[in-house]
Symmetry: C2
Amino acid sequence: MPHEEVLQESRRASPAPMLLNAERLKAVMKAEGIDAVVATSAENVTYTSGYWALSQWIRRGPQIYVLLPAADLAASEIIASTTLLDQIADQQDVWVQNVRRYGYFQVDRSNAPLDDLDSRQAELYALPDNGDAIRALVAAIQSAGLSRSRIAIDEMGLLPGHWEKLCGELPDARLVPGFQLLRRVRAVKTAEEIARLRRVAWITEASIDAALAVAREGATEGEMARAFHGCTVSHDAFPVIGCIGFGTRAAMPNVQPSATRLKSGEVIRLDVGGRYKHYRADIARMAVLGEADDKTATYVRALHVGVLKALEMIRPGVKASALFETAVEAVRREGIPHYNRSHVGHGIGVDGYDLPDLTPASKDVIEEGMVMCVETPYYELGWAGLQVEDMIVVRSDGIESLMTSDGGLRVMR
Amino acid sequence: MPHEEVLQESRRASPAPMLLNAERLKAVMKAEGIDAVVATSAENVTYTSGYWALSQWIRRGPQIYVLLPAADLAASEIIASTTLLDQIADQQDVWVQNVRRYGYFQVDRSNAPLDDLDSRQAELYALPDNGDAIRALVAAIQSAGLSRSRIAIDEMGLLPGHWEKLCGELPDARLVPGFQLLRRVRAVKTAEEIARLRRVAWITEASIDAALAVAREGATEGEMARAFHGCTVSHDAFPVIGCIGFGTRAAMPNVQPSATRLKSGEVIRLDVGGRYKHYRADIARMAVLGEADDKTATYVRALHVGVLKALEMIRPGVKASALFETAVEAVRREGIPHYNRSHVGHGIGVDGYDLPDLTPASKDVIEEGMVMCVETPYYELGWAGLQVEDMIVVRSDGIESLMTSDGGLRVMR
């Protein structure tokens, strides 16, 4: 049996695992009196439907939406440009079955019998053309009987002028911004999301190892970056963040790899992470070539203890702001008395900065199923930059680390 | 002399090569009576200033602006979050010297003497904090004496509500949307842009070769994609488009590499391109494993002739719509009588779809210095997908191809 047919069979056999936390979405919609949500930004479209539409992710402008009615999530609908329908048919993880298309795109059809994948495409191309994205969305809302409803529309993916157009076309609906609502829903991950985050964390740690494997006196930041990204793509992930800096350059928070060469005794700071099946990693590790001086050793240990102390106290119900205080105080106590930070971490998922925000002013409360980066970066101009950043999942009684390596200083010989 | 110091010296010695077509921007501003332009989207910020701000490129939300006054482009100003100032100091190709910062971010400073790079950072961190992005932009406009001017603001990078805030804060200014204006400016490339586009085209062709090198019976689309992206990152470019499909799967316009295995006689369609120094490639090539059947051979030839006929007639002054007609008619005449398309190409640069649009309804006219993708894709469900796509520069008397390979069918043995 050819491979593709096997894929087809498995596609039909089991429902796609969902990225969307459907229970949480329903609860939030109920609590806020929302009758429907419309996802418009690339992250939210993928999150709510499983549909990853190439051009929406790589450009500004292409409009794809997902309409999710509170009364029946199974009646959700994807609104897609005809040019992007093939990906709905091919992607096994699209769980929204209803599709509304808009726009002209030419695809011919052979006289040969079509397999399942091609039949599904043919079916999608045969749908009526709704003209443009906003007309299609309005039609979807109307035919779902939602014209007089309270609808939360993710305002971040719309083009300028679209919001006003929607208000004009749906005069009896009450439209409210939906981006923050979806961000709150996304804060607690599903099993499928955690599996992807675990995988991308693993790929990123493997890529850190690959980068450090080429670190020797005279090696450049650029060489390490090529090794890092090469490993990432070899595992089907895509490069996103690749901050790798030596010595004083490591004090640049966003250091981009250059032709600068590594010298003995210098610190290497890596703040890195790719994207795997649309899910992000963000991990920081440090190494030193040869012996670390006392300051480096003390500071690294203090920053590492800061992360570990925060991790120790993480459990459902803890305040994000308390994690901030704990981490910062630990770093100060352990050896960097002047340590200051804007935050010590953030959620991570389909976006690199999901909730919660680990800031002093944060009102977020830790919940089971959150996936977070906990970090204590320290940047000292003229000296170096140091950073520990771990990815973890919040469990009922503490954390599950997604890390396989220790956050302490690695000594390279 | 340590390497970094050499970099510093060369940075001071010669002005950064500009991506911005300053003459064209000035001409367009003058023709439209615009006193200043504000870039807000990632592409336009990089294009107008040379400044590539990491988080603006990988997330939705981070706000970086460039204010460009018509009266004196040298007085242009970058508005940046404090978290992203390091990249202004480090990037040799930032030609805008004036910076206005906003927001808190902690960077410490050692007692050691600072080198040029660190001094520039210290200088930027020491700038006054303007609070938030919009307040910083308003302050920049006011201190440039532009509060009563006509200002074209790139509407695509602003967050929802920002436009209204700007109107409220600048009641005497006339704000008009600027995204299309900047798109028109970007259509004619500078020498530095063409150099980057030539390089990314070369990297993409090298990566196509790397992918085809692993194509054999039983190889998967995924294996070819890993080889493709691996080559791309080894040349310091980043993966963007990697559509690689076999046989009937090649008929999916956005085919994403799967575990499907290559069979003898099947077509491989690659529609691919990375990003190098922020500039995009978009190239399509085809191969067949073993012998091509008559239909494949005829169709590929027809599509290839379609591109070649369009390329032959390209010169300044030619209508984009005429190129469309020429390409489509050639394909029909040469062997696909039912051939239809929405477009046969587009400009390319810092965005994957710059002007001109090679569509039947396009009003665009070809100009010297445009860089374009010319393509004749053909998708037949149940059979295969075929595509030739070349990148070229428009010169005074015709084209300069950025391709080193021929667009015809490659036969793999």
